[in-house]
Amino acid sequence: MRRLMIVVLSLALLVGMTGLAFASEEGKLLIWADEIRAKVLQEVKEEFEEEYGISVEIQELAFGDIRDNLGVSGPTGEGPDILVGAHDWLGQLVHDGLIAPIDLTGLKDQFYDVSLKAFTWGEDVYSVPYCMESIGLFYNKDIVPEPPKTWEELVKIVEEVTDPASETYGFILPQPDPYHTFPIMSATGGYVFGYTEDGEMDCFDIGLNNQGAVTGLELLDSLAQKDLLPFVDYNTMMSLFKNGQAAMMITGPWAFTDLKKAGVNFGFTKIPSIDGQTPKPFVGVQGFMISAFSENMMLAQAFLTEFVATEKTMAKLYELDGRPPVFKPVADKVSSDPLIAGVLASAADGLPMPNIPEMASVWQAWSDALELVLTQKQDAKSALDNAVGHIYKTLAKEKAGN
C-alpha cells in the first residue's frame, strides 16, 4: 500500500515536473524584472506569445535582488534569460561572467548615445536601455517662484528662508551621501576616476581630493558652518520638502510621483552653476540585459530588439515609471513635459556613473569624509585626502592579489 502510494505520487510529480519552469529552458523565455517592469512586460508578453507561440515567463524580484540572485542562480543554470538592471552593475556582472553582449546592429542610433555608452564594456554593448536618471534641483514654487541660476543666488535665498528654530530650511540634500553631493564637487573640477590615454577608466587616477573637489565641498561646508544646511538623511529630507519646510533640495526623478501625490507645487531644474561652471551629476541608466547562461541568446535578443525596443513598449515603460526614456522616438514626444525636460537637461551635463566594480571601495570612504567635514570634525582637504588614501589602499590590495 505504502509503496503503491509512493509510486503513484512520484509518477504524478514527475509528470507535473515537466510542466514547471525551473530555469532558462530552450525555446522559452524567463525574465527577471522589478515590480514596474514586470507589469509592463506582462502586457507585452501576451502579444509576443500570441504572435510567435513562444511562452514568456516573468518573475518579479526586488530591483537590487536581481543582481545578487543572478550570481547564485546564473552559473547553476537556474537563472533567467533576460534581466532588468542598472548600468553601474555592469563591471561586476562582466567580471563575474554573468551577462552576454547584445548585438544592436541597426538600432544604435535610436538610443541616446550616453545610455549605450553607460552599458558598454570593452567593445561590446550589454543592454537594451530604457530609461535614465540624473539628479537636479527641486524647488517649491510657493517659496521660490524662480529657481536660482547661480550658487550666489541660491545662498541668498537660503539666507532669507532658513530658520532652524521653526525647522524651515532654504536648501537641503541627503547627508552623508556622495551621489547627491557629487555635482557640487564636480562643478569645480572634482571627478571620481580619470581616463587613460586610450579612453579607458583609470582607477589609479582619483580626483576626489583635487583642488576642485575640495572647493566644492568647502562651499557646502560654509553653509553648514553658518547653520544653513541641516545634517539630514534622505527620508528626513523628503518629509521636510513634502511638508513645505524646505524651499529647495537635490535629488532625482524617482521622487516625482511621490511629490505629486503629496500635492507639492514643485519644479525641477539644473543645479545652479558654481563660479560660472556647470555641476556634473552622475547619470544612471537602466536597461534589459541577457544572462550569459541563457539557452536562448538569440531568442532573448530578438525579443529585446523586436519587441522591447519599440515605440509601444518604451512608451509604456515611461508611463509607469516616469523617468525619461532613452529611446529617441519616445523621448522626443515626451520632452515637452517640463519635468522630463529638466532631467534631460541635467543629464546632458552629467557623467555616466562609473560602471567599474572598483566603485565599491569609493562610496564608503567618500561618505565618511563628507560626514566628517559637514559635521565640523575635519576640514575638507584633510578629510578628502584621507578618503582617497583609503581608496588607493583597498585598490592596491586588490591589484596585489592578482
Partner: protein, 519 residues
C-alpha cells in the same frame, strides 16, 4: 470493519511519510539533473534514516534525537563547514564561476575577421524540425547552401531548390520546407547552435536576421594552462583566478580557486584589520556586556514589580511591556533612528525645549554608542523580563517567609534570595544573550551603519562598528564589491572568538553545573 485509534494513527503515519518520501524523491530528481550529487546523497541518507526511525519499532528511542540532529546538521553544521570551505577560496567579485565555466565562456567568443561577410538567410527544416538547411545570400547576391556542417556556393538553377509557386522565393530544399518568420523565432534556440566551416571562417548566427563569417578568438591549451588570443597571438596564463597576460591584462571572467590560508593571512597581516582590531574588539565587548547588563537589570526590575500581587492590572502592564518584543527589530530600529535624528528628531526637540540645545546623537562617537545601547535596551528588556518572570515563579515562597521571620529587609531578601536563586536558571541565558549581542549586526548596521567615522583614521572602521559590521564593510564595501572568501574567513574567526568567550563564561560562572545540580 471498524478502525481503532491505533489503526488511524498508522494510516496517518504512512500517509505523512508517503508525502515526505515523494517530496524527497522529487527533490532528488531535481538534484540529480543539476549534478548536485553531494546534496543528493545527504538527502537520500536523511530520508532513509527518518523512514527507518519512524517506521521501525526497534528504533523507537531514536525518534527523539534524529529529527533534531538532522536539522542541526542541515542548518548549523553544513553552513559552518561550507563557510569554512569558502574561506579557503577567492570566491567573490570576478571569481564566481569555476575554471571550466570561465574557459568555456572565453573560448566561446568569436570575432568578425576583416572583410567578413554577413548573410541574410532562409531556413528549411525537416518535418520534425530537428534538422535544418540554410540558404544564405551575401550582400552581393551570391547564394550559398549550408547543410551538414558544410557550406557551398549554389545557383538558383540547382535542381534541389524548388520554387513551387514561382514567386522567386525557394520553398523547398532537398525536401525540407521553408520556415516562416514565426517558425524561425520558435526555432531560434536550435538555429543559434548551427555552425558551418567556410574556408578559414565559421559561419554562425549573428543576430536573428543575419548569419556572419566569424572566427574563434581564443583557444585553451590545457598542457600549459594558457589561453591564446588567436587574433593577436597574445598569451594569457592562469594566475590567481584570472587568465593574465605578461602586461597584466586580465581576461574576464575570472574563476574561483583555492587559496589555502591566504584569506587568514590577510586578516592577520593587513593593517586595515589589525590596526583597529583592538579598538573594535573592546567596543564589541562593551556593547555586548552593557546590552546584557542593562536589559537584564531593567527586565528583572519590571519582573519583580509585575510579580508583586499587590499590583493591580498586572496582565495589562505585562502585555504593554512585552510589545517591543512583538515589533520586528528592523522597524523599531529605524523608528528610533528617526527619534534620535539630530536636526528634526523628537528627542532633541524635547532636550531643546528643556535645556535649550540638543545632542549630536548620530554624529558623536560617545552619544552614538549611548543611543545604540538605549535602542538595544528597548529591544532587549522584554526578553529578560519574560525569563525573569518565569524564574521568579520557581523560587520557593518558604524562603521569603523564613527571611521575613529573621527580619531581613527587602533589599536583603533581593540580594540573598532572589538574585542568587534567579541566576541559577537565568545565567546560561545571559551568556547566550551576550553571544548574540556580540554578533548583533542588525542594530549596528540599521541604526547608524557603524558611524560616525573617526577623523583622520587610518582604516575605515567607524566609531560604533562592532567586529561583524566592520568585517561586512571590509568584505562587501571595499575592493571590487564582494569578497565572500575574506568574509567567510572573518566569520570563522568570529565564530572561534565567540565560542571561546562562551566556553569561558560557562566554565567561569559554572552555570551549567548549577543547573545540573538543580535538575
Amino acid at each position: 470493519m471498524s478502525f481503532t485509534r491505533e489503526t488511524y494513527k498508522v494510516i496517518l503515519k504512512i500517509a505523512i511519510f508517503s508525502v515526505l518520501d515523494a517530496m524527497a524523491l522529487w527533490a532528488s530528481l531535481t538534484l540529480y539533473s543539476h549534478h548536485a550529487y553531494k546534496l543528493l546523497v545527504i538527502l537520500l541518507v536523511g530520508t532513509v534514516l527518518l523512514n527507518i526511525v519512524f517506521l521501525s519499532r526497534k528504533a523507537y528511542p531514536l525518534r527523539y534525537i534524529i529529527p533534531g540532529t538532522l536539522f542541526m546538521l542541515c542548518l548549523v553544521v553544513y553552513p559552518l563547514l561550507y563557510t569554512a570551505y569558502i574561506s579557503f577560496t577567492n570566491y567573490g567579485t570576478g571569481h564566481i564561476l569555476n575554471k571550466e565555466q570561465s574557459i568555456e565562456q572565453i573560448t566561446g567568443r568569436y570575432y568578425l575577421p576583416e572583410g567578413a561577410r554577413t548573410f541574410k538567410y532562409s531556413a528549411y527544416a525537416d518535418e520534425n524540425r530537428e534538422k535544418f538547411i540554410l540558404l544564405l545570400k551575401d550582400s552581393e547576391g551570391n547564394l550559398f547552401l549550408a547543410r551538414d556542417d558544410k557550406m557551398e556556393p549554389v545557383s538558383l538553377a540547382d535542381k534541389s531548390l524548388v520554387d513551387k509557386d514561382a514567386d522567386g522565393e525557394i520553398d523547398e530544399v532537398y525536401g525540407y520546407t521553408r520556415l516562416s518568420r514565426k517558425e524561425i523565432f520558435r526555432n531560434l534556440s536550435a538555429l543559434q547552435k548551427l555552425e558551418y566551416e567556410y574556408h578559414e571562417n565559421i559561419v554562425k548566427m549573428k543576430n536573428f536576421a543575419l548569419f556572419a563569417e566569424l572566427r574563434k578568438q581564443y583557444k585553451y591549451f590545457p598542457a600549459e594552462d594558457k589561453i591564446v588570443d588567436l587574433k593577436t597571438g597574445k598569451e594569457y596564463f592562469a594566475r590567481h583566478g584570472y587568465f593574465v597576460a605578461e602586461d597584466g591584462e586580465n581576461l574576464l571572467p575570472g574563476f574561483m580557486i583555492k587559496l589555502g590560508w591566504e584569506n587568514y593571512k590577510t586578516l592577520l597581516t593587513d593593517d586595515r584589520v589589525s590596526k583597529p582590531f583592538i579598538r573594535v574588539f573592546i567596543w564589541t565587548f562593551e556593547f555586548a556586556l552593557l546590552s546584557v547588563l542593562t536589559t537584564f537589570a531593567l527586565g528583572l526590575f519590571l519582573a519583580i514589580l509585575l510579580n508583586d500581587p499587590r499590583l493591580r492590572f498586572r496582565t495589562l502592564y505585562r502585555t504593554i511591556l512585552i510589545l517591543p518584543y512583538a515589533i520586528p527589530g528592523f522597524i523599531s530600529i529605524l523608528v528610533w533612528r528617526g527619534l534620535f535624528d539630530t536636526e528634526v528628531g523628537v528627542i532633541n526637540e524635547i532636550l531643546q525645549f528643556i535645556f535649550g540645545s540638543g545632542l549630536p546623537w548620530l554624529q558623536d562617537a560617545f552619544w552614538a554608542k549611548f543611543a545604540i545601547l538605549v535602542v538595544n535596551l528597548w529591544l532587549g528588556y522584554p526578553y529578560m523580563m519574560l525569563i525573569c518572570l518565569g524564574a521568579l515563579q520557581s523560587i520557593p515562597g518558604e524562603l521569603y517567609e523564613a527571611a521575613a521571620i529573621d527580619g531581613a529587609s527587602g533589599w536583603q531578601r533581593f540580594k540573598f534570595i532572589t538574585l542568587p536563586m534567579l541566576l541559577v536558571s537565568v545565567a546560561p541565558l545571559l551568556i547566550s544573550s551576550f553571544a548574540y549581542n556580540f554578533n548583533n549586526f542588525l542594530i549596528i548596521y540599521l541604526f547608524n551603519r557603524g558611524r560616525p567615522p573617526i577623523p583622520g583614521a587610518q582604516t575605515p572602521a567607524g566609531a560604533t562598528d562592532i567586529l561583524i559590521s566592520y568585517t561586512y564593510r571590509l568584505s562587501f564595501e571595499s575592493g571590487q564589491g564582494s569578497d565572500f572568501g575574506l568574509a567567510s574567513a572573518v566569520t570563522i574567526l568570529i565564530f572561534i572568538i565567540t565560542a571561546v568567550i562562551t566556553w569561558f563564561n560557562f566554565r567561569y560562572t559554572g552555570a551549567l553545573e548549577d543547573v545540573k545540580e538543580n535538575v
